[in-house]
């Protein structure tokens, strides 16, 4: 299985940017972050002691519709919680996140947005990191489908997602909290629990509490650990950015 590919800080005008291409779903999303930025037109909506997070999703080959507004709401509520909007320079300003879907099929009106939601979340995170926006923690996401026969499939393709009896998107923080759950379809709670377990291992690797209460990271099997993937992407980028310093040392 080919893992996703990502690159950081690819745009020159935006404060931070990232792109992520997910081979299984075919989505390629480009995200940009402008922060902190003055939002004079939203003055009445600004909060006095916190940054205002704005998310804008731009579909690739259709006009934005109600689905985009909905997914923007979800993204905003997740990101608002991890962004430290009270840090110096952020209150009364905006964190503007723009996500353009530049590859992959359009989400039709009324279709579920769950297929692309993990990619959108991941790109927002990378773009925020690229813009050096203070955050309390990072997170990683997983898309899982449960087939009619009850099997759990990871990163289902569009056709598989359509045929699945339920679809789940979960996001875990870097500290192991369940940040987001979006489940759709027909399922029972026990099924969801096994989905959660699987998602957790995909995002974070197998967490096996050691004897001293410490959490040791095991290997998540053949599934790439998303959390590790984000770390690697950022590390690679830092290496490139600081190559002058590393070389001279």
């Amino acid at each position: 299985m080919v893992g996703p590919t990502a690159s950081l800080s690819i745009l020159s005008r935006a404060d931070g940017s990232a792109s992520l291409k997910c081979p299984t779903t075919g989505y390629n999303v480009l995200g940009s972050v402008n922060a902190p930025i003055e939002l004079p037109a939203r003055r009445d909506a600004l909060k006095p002691e916190e940054a205002t997070v704005e998310v804008f999703v731009k579909p690739g080959n259709t006009t934005a519709g109600v689905g985009e507004r909905y997914v923007e709401g979800i993204l905003r509520s997740v990101l608002q919680k991890v962004i430290l909007g009270r840090e110096r320079g952020f209150p009364r300003r905006g964190v503007v996140i723009t996500l353009a879907i530049i590859g992959g099929d359009a989400v039709e009106r009324g279709d579920s947005y769950l297929n692309i939601l993990p990619t959108l979340l991941q790109v927002s995170l990378l773009a925020l990191l690229s813009a050096a926006v203070p955050m309390s923690m990072t997170f990683s996401t997983a898309l899982l489908g449960v087939t009619k026969s009850g099997d759990i499939i990871c990163n289902p393709s569009a056709a598989e997602a359509k045929a699945a009896s339920s679809l789940h998107v979960l996001a875990f923080s870097s500290k192991g909290h369940l940040l987001l759950d979006e489940s759709q379809g027909r399922f029972e709670f026990e099924q969801w629990e096994s989905v959660r377990e699987r998602a957790f291992s995909i995002c974070r690797g197998m967490a096996t509490p050691g004897a001293d209460g410490d959490v040791t990271m095991g290997d998540g099997g053949d599934e790439a650990r998303i959390n590790g993937f984000i770390c690697e992407t950022v590390e690679d980028h830092l290496h490139r950015d600081y190559s002058w310093k590393i070389d001279s040392a």
């Binding site: 745009l11 804008f56 259709t62 519709g65």
Partner: protein, 324 residues
């Protein structure tokens, strides 16, 4: 205060229900918001003074474009264009729809351009600004109204079904000359795009997937491009492909839409200081030269990409045969 009959700026949509509208805002705010941070007086003077000596900030000649870099995505009609630091992605898509009642023989073609905060922090998401309206107007005139894409060839079954072609322009980075860059990107996309083959059998339209039948190229009648000239120092200096800073210190703009054959399909002296009439004629020649140059480059890049695709397709086919 909002006026009682608030009109939200741009919402031309087909569906009457659940149409996505955005917050309306007073007109004055829009104008203010679309403005980039102004140049300092010193910076402006510097640019003008240098131009007086026929020097541009990046060392280009007056009639020289920045380096143009075109690449293609996985899908047909997915073009990434880089003109200096201006960066654009264009996606062309097609779907079968019903033709308009008054034009049963014509297909549909639309260009969608929306400026988002990605291109420049000065643009606000979900709000239209003057630049957006202006660029859309020029693109529409140069490409759509000049019938560069033959819409009649998009008809499948008279009055029943036709292709609707859609060009979505995403501005990733804005560093001046949006119009020309978008124009090149869209034209390249249209030439690169392949729609699925469709045939009519017993009144039933059958669309063949890309794997089954070789997809069809669009019928491009001519290849017009827009060339934007910016005037400085009372019309003494006229340059092409201005950067954002040059645009900001410019006193006037002249846009010429012209094709390889030298047919002018759009001409606009939209705003700013007057330009000598003779300049329009001489600049048309410059524009023609530029268009020929760019079209040749587009052709070269595109053929290389299509050849690469064909090779890859062939390799896949033989692999599939081997598997059998």
């Amino acid at each position: 205060m909002r006026p009682a009959t608030a009109k939200w700026p741009k919402m031309v949509q087909k569906k009457t229900f659940d149409r996505p509208r955005r917050d309306s805002s007073p007109r004055c705010a829009i104008r203010k918001m679309s403005k980039e941070a102004p140049l300092s007086v010193a910076e402006r003077e510097f640019i003008l003074e240098a131009l007086r000596e026929n020097v541009r900030l990046d060392g280009r000649g007056a009639d020289q474009f920045r380096s143009l870099n075109l690449s293609f995505g996985d899908e047909y009609g997915h073009v990434k264009l880089q003109l200096g630091k201006t960066s654009i992605v264009v996606r062309i898509s097609s779907e079968v729809t019903k033709p308009r009642d008054d034009r049963p023989f014509d297909g549909l073609f639309n260009i969608n351009l929306e400026l988002s905060a990605m291109g420049s922090p000065a643009w606000e998401n979900g709000r239209s600004n003057e630049l957006e309206a202006y660029v859309t107007h020029v693109l529409d005139s140069v490409i759509r109204r000049s019938n560069a894409l033959d819409t009649e060839s998009l008809c499948i079954l008279k009055g029943v079904s036709c292709w609707s072609i859609r060009a979505d322009v995403h501005i990733l980075d804005y560093d001046g000359n949006l119009t020309d860059a978008a124009c090149i990107a869209i034209m390249t996309g249209l030439q690169h795009f392949r729609r699925p083959d469709a045939v009519v059998r017993d009144g039933q339209v059958i669309v063949y997937g890309v794997e089954e039948r070789v997809p069809v190229a669009l019928n491009i009648t001519h290849k017009p491009l827009s060339i934007t000239f910016n005037a400085f120092n009372e019309g003494h200096n006229i340059i092409v492909d201005a950067t954002r800073k040059e645009e900001q210190s410019s006193e006037g703009e002249l846009v010429i839409g012209i094709n390889n054959g030298g047919d002018v399909c759009f001409l606009s002296k939209f705003s700013g200081a007057p330009v000598d009439a003779m300049e329009v004629v001489t600049r048309s020649n410059v524009a023609l030269e530029k268009v020929k140059e760019i079209n040749a480059q587009v052709e070269r890049v595109m053929q290389a990409d299509l050849a690469k695709r064909a090779k890859k397709g062939m390799a896949e086919e033989s692999r599939a045969e081997n598997d059998r």
